[in-house]
């Protein structure tokens, strides 16, 4: 067993884990951050994307101990104090989610994309979401939501 301590959404959380425990499992089972979802066992679906050390990571591709001491941001850390964050709000405004299961990973990937590329084209958004599967929306409204955030941020920066 290993002792693992993470800074999750600004709070220090820790637990004892088996070496084989994945970060996704540690977040859900030990830290009870159940917003991070597990939709596959081949690191294809992207429902478990979180940010580790500022980078978007499929949390099923890391062991929990590999994240020891790192800052982790999950979907639970994306809202502002008393309102949705801008990406979350854009997802609601544009009906970019239906069953909600892929949504945490989509939001975390969208946030990373906009950090890397503040003004992505539709094609760049679709390309970036290659690793996030959604079965409900046909992706169109997800693309629309992400584009709308880019536009809002740009006009806010210009103002």
């Amino acid at each position: 067993m290993e002792f693992v301590e993470l800074i999750v959404n600004g709070r220090t959380l820790s637990g004892e884990v088996e070496g084989r425990k994945l970060l996704s499992e540690f977040l859900r089972e030990d830290l009870r951050c159940t917003g991070t979802h597990i939709g596959c066992d081949t690191s294809q679906c992207g429902a478990c994307v979180v940010h580790v050390g500022g980078k978007a990571v499929k949390s099923c591709t890391m062991f929990a101990w590999e994240a020891d001491g790192m800052e982790v941001v999950t979907i639970e850390g994306m809202a502002d104090e008393d309102s949705l964050g801008d990406i979350q709000q854009a997802f609601q405004d544009n009906h970019a989610l239906q069953c909600g299961f892929c949504t945490p990973g989509m939001v975390m990937s969208a946030a990373a994309l906009l950090d890397e590329n503040p003004d992505p084209s539709d094609a760049e958004i679709r390309d970036y979401l290659e690793g996030n599967l959604c079965r409900c929306t046909g992706y169109q409204n997800i693309v629309k939501a992400i584009r709308s955030v880019a536009e809002q941020r740009e006009s806010a920066a210009a103002a």
Binding site: T34, I75, C99, C136, Q140, V143
Partner: protein, 788 residues
């Protein structure tokens, strides 16, 4: 000016807030104190005799509570089938037993053999690997045509691999044969409808819990219909009466049909919790989902269409082999029969139709309804053969369809395959399609593609579906072993807010938003004064759940009926308060008024009076304001539409790109246009997935080759174009109070033939003699067709 609340408004979804903040409560998010975990030992071979299952070593491993095998389920019921088909010879279909854990034989890769319950999930998995299974492998029965030779039997006691041979409508057969024999032209097409895996993003989960003090079992499960699971598992498998069994389906991460059925893992966890006196949890891995969730489609069909010299359709004859897989899943027999044969008239006035379906057992995962369920299979055959006929006869495919449309003056229209379409206007949706997809600009887009070295094609398609399932007395005659009504309770609270309790279940459809929209209009109160409770048999009225695009058409109708009862009672209370006759009370915008006077009382005052009945006609009227309605529809509803798709094909590689897709649907009245758009988007994406990418493939030994997302090609963001969807053509349903038809499955029904028609069009325009390619139209298949 679009409405900003109530029916017709694109109200933002209230459920989104919890899903967007990680506060959803999916089944796997639930942990019951003291829970143990189960890991199943599953068959690694497609077909075999089960000689022995050694559990001693596994039982002694750390944390293991107990190892169960098929022997533990002697005397326990198997999984029941909810629909019985009668064979052409008058006999009932073959209905072999479906044990919870394998007994004597294994019949598909993934068939559960043993179940290890341990204190942790890791311990359960470790110990499952120590269970020694001795299986004598038998030749796998896979190809449906060979299976019918009965050389190897999936079920020895059935004596045959033919589950049933169904003819519909049997009385039509001679007339169809004669019409085809005398037709000016007969177009014939053989095609397959590829096997699919639903792949809801949330894998299935079940948690069984048992309270010995009250003798109550609780099952938390990823279900589209918790009441159906309670009925099937309680009555047919575990013999637990309803009042001792609670089934909870909390937030569910997509279903698409695959979470309708009662699965072995649900019964196992409930059973084991009673045996071990501790909660038992199972969470599927995606690999498990691929070999245990019911698959979809998998039909092999031949369709013949006879036409006269003017291009009028004279007759249709089809013969289909439908794969049932290794066992009969809950609604499997209904899919290739009453959800398929009845739809073979499509949007057309073909006078003579006969459908034959042979359902076949094979050593594969059970096959059942997947988004559309039978209707995509019917539409695919019909619309492909019409397209082929148009090309053979040199008639424009759109014109051939228009010529044969049922005219809007002909409704209600009785088809030769037993349905009565209440309303529709197929020419209107085709006109709308021509507008939104810019048929006229196609030639210039074609030239542009040619300049880029690409072939370009335009495919058009129409569909009709029968949904809002369905009148109970009718489906009972057709073999359903359940009623198909829906329920709603409207609970008006003392201060005027409202709680709706419904038997439908939302797993992405947005009911928590749309159902309150309906009541906001009826009661004249804000949507935020109304909430929806669903998904728990302990606090919702018996209902049949959500599938077949039925929730608003049937559940919404029950909601309206219950609300009407509320209004009728509230008027009596208002009449008492205003010392008037109830007949003179009018209700609008949340105010009760005495007709022709300025006397009025507000909604809130009436509600409070109902619960604080100090000034109240107690001798005539009960206090309280809560009503329930069970609504049984008079008919199916018949959404219909016209779809168009443009593809570019790279001739050197066979790669197909869908570059444009348009959908003109008639859903009748629409409650929330934003949500309807989203439903159509998702359905079309699944249909494009079926047409181009998705395929559940078994190898010759019965191994599922496409058993993970590494091999099963799910559509990704860059596979789907921006979709142009329109539902402004509206012929409201004539027999439900909202005039709604349902929109959940349309996209998945209408889109696969649209894409294939477009690819064939592109190849023919490019000079290639290709009249059909079976789905999925992978680059290899298209390249092979191009290169003969």
């Amino acid at each position: 000016m679009p409405k900003d609340y109530g029916i017709g408004a694109s109200s933002k979804r209230r459920e989104d807030v919890r899903f967007l903040t990680g506060s959803g409560r999916y089944t796997d998010d639930i942990n019951v104190p003291g829970q143990a975990f189960v890991s199943f030992v599953r068959s690694e071979v497609a077909h075999g005799k089960l000689n022995s299952v050694e559990t001693e070593e596994a039982s002694a491993m750390p944390g293991v509570l107990r190892v169960f095998t098929g022997a533990d389920f002697e005397g326990v019921g198997g999984l029941p089938c909810g629909w019985q088909i009668t064979d052409r010879n008058g006999e009932p279909m073959k209905e072999p037993a479906h044990p919870i854990l394998a007994q004597g034989k294994v019949r598909h890769v993934g068939d559960p053999i043993a179940a290890v319950v341990a204190e942790s999930e890791a311990q359960a998995r470790d110990a499952a690997e120590a269970v020694a299974v001795d299986v004598q492998e038998l030749p796998a029965v896979l190809d449906m045509k060979s299976a019918l030779e009965d050389e190897g039997l999936v079920h020895e006691d059935a004596g045959t691999n033919l589950c049933f041979d169904w003819g519909f409508v049997e009385d039509n057969k001679d007339a169809v044969d004669a019409a085809l024999a005398g037709a000016h032209h007969v177009t014939t097409l053989e095609l397959t409808n590829n096997r699919l895996v639903a792949n809801a993003m949330e894998p299935r989960v079940a948690i069984g819990d048992y309270d010995a003090a009250t003798d109550v079992s609780t099952l938390f499960t990823t279900s589209q219909n918790p009441h159906v699971i309670r009925l099937l598992m309680g009555a047919f498998v575990l013999s637990i009466p309803e009042h001792k069994l609670r089934v909870v389906a909390p937030d569910v991460g997509g279903g698409f049909g695959s979470k309708i059925y009662h699965y072995a893992e649900e019964a196992f966890c409930t059973f084991a919790a009673r045996q071990l006196l501790c909660p038992v949890k199972w969470t599927a891995t995606r690999s498990e989902s691929f070999v245990t969730d019911a698959h979809g489609r998998d039909h092999v069909s031949k369709i013949e269409l006879g036409l006269d010299e003017d291009g009028n359709f004279l007759a249709i004859r089809t013969a289909t082999l439908a794969n049932m897989g290794a066992y009969l899943s809950t609604f499997a027999p209904a899919v290739p029969t009453y959800l398929h044969g009845t739809l073979m008239a499509g949007n057309y006035k073909t006078p003579n139709i006969y459908v034959n379906v042979k359902a076949v057992f094979t050593n594969t995962v059970p096959v059942d309804a997947y988004r559309g369920a039978g209707r995509p299979e019917a539409t695919f055959q019909l619309e492909r053969v019409i397209d082929k006929a148009a090309r053979e006869l040199g008639i424009d495919p759109v014109e051939l369809r228009r010529k044969n449309f049922i005219d809007k003056e002909q409704f209600p229209y009785a088809t030769p395959v037993a349905l009565q379409y209440d309303t529709g206007d197929y020419a209107a949706t085709m006109d709308k399609l021509a507008e939104i997809s810019d048929f006229e600009g196609f030639e210039s887009r074609l030239e542009e593609s040619k300049r880029n070295g690409k072939l370009r094609g335009l495919g058009v398609n129409c569909y009709i579906e029968a949904c809002g399932i369905a009148p109970s007395n009718l489906v009972g005659q057709l073999g359903a072993r359940a009623g198909l009504y829906e329920s709603a309770t409207v609970r008006v609270n003392a201060t005027g807010s409202v709680t709706i309790l419904t038997g439908t279940h939302s797993h992405g459809q947005g009911h928590e938003t749309t159902f309150p929209q309906v009541l906001a209009d009826m009661f004249g109160i804000g949507e935020d004064q109304i909430n929806l409770v669903h998904g728990d048999t302990a606090n919702t009225p018996m209902g049949m759940g959500t599938y077949g695009s039925r929730s608003i058409a049937v559940g919404g109708a029950a909601l309206v009926r219950a609300a009407e009862k509320i209004i009728a009672k509230a008027k009596k209370i208002a009449a008492h308060l205003m010392e008037a006759s109830a007949d003179d009370i009018e209700f609008a915008d949340g105010q009760f008024t005495v007709a022709g006077t300025d006397k009025s009382v507000a909604w809130g005052d009436v509600c409070l009076t109902a619960y604080v009945p100090h000034n109240y006609p107690l001798e005539e009227l009960e206090p309280g304001l809560e009503e329930t309605s069970f609504y049984d529809p008079a008919n199916f509803t018949f959404p219909a539409g016209a779809y168009a798709c443009e593809v570019e094909v790279e001739p050197e590689t066979g790669k197909v790109d869908v570059v444009a897709f348009s959908a003109a649907d008639d859903f009748g009245n629409v409650i929330n246009p934003m949500i309807v758009d989203g439903q159509v988007h998702g359905g079309i994406a699944q249909g494009i997935g079926q047409a181009l990418r998705e395929h559940a493939v078994y190898d010759d030994g019965g191994q599922l080759v496409s058993g993970s997302y590494m091999e099963y090609a799910m559509p990704r963001a860059d596979d789907i174009p921006d979709l142009a969807v329109d539902h402004s053509c509206q012929t409201p349903c004539t027999h439900n109070p909202l005039g709604v038809k349902g929109c959940g499955e349309a996209g998945a029904i209408g889109s696969p033939p649209t894409v294939v028609n477009a690819v064939v069009d592109a190849l023919q325009r490019g000079g290639y003699d290709v009249d059909h390619i079976d789905m999925p139209l992978s680059p290899f298949r298209v390249w092979s067709a191009i290169n003969g």
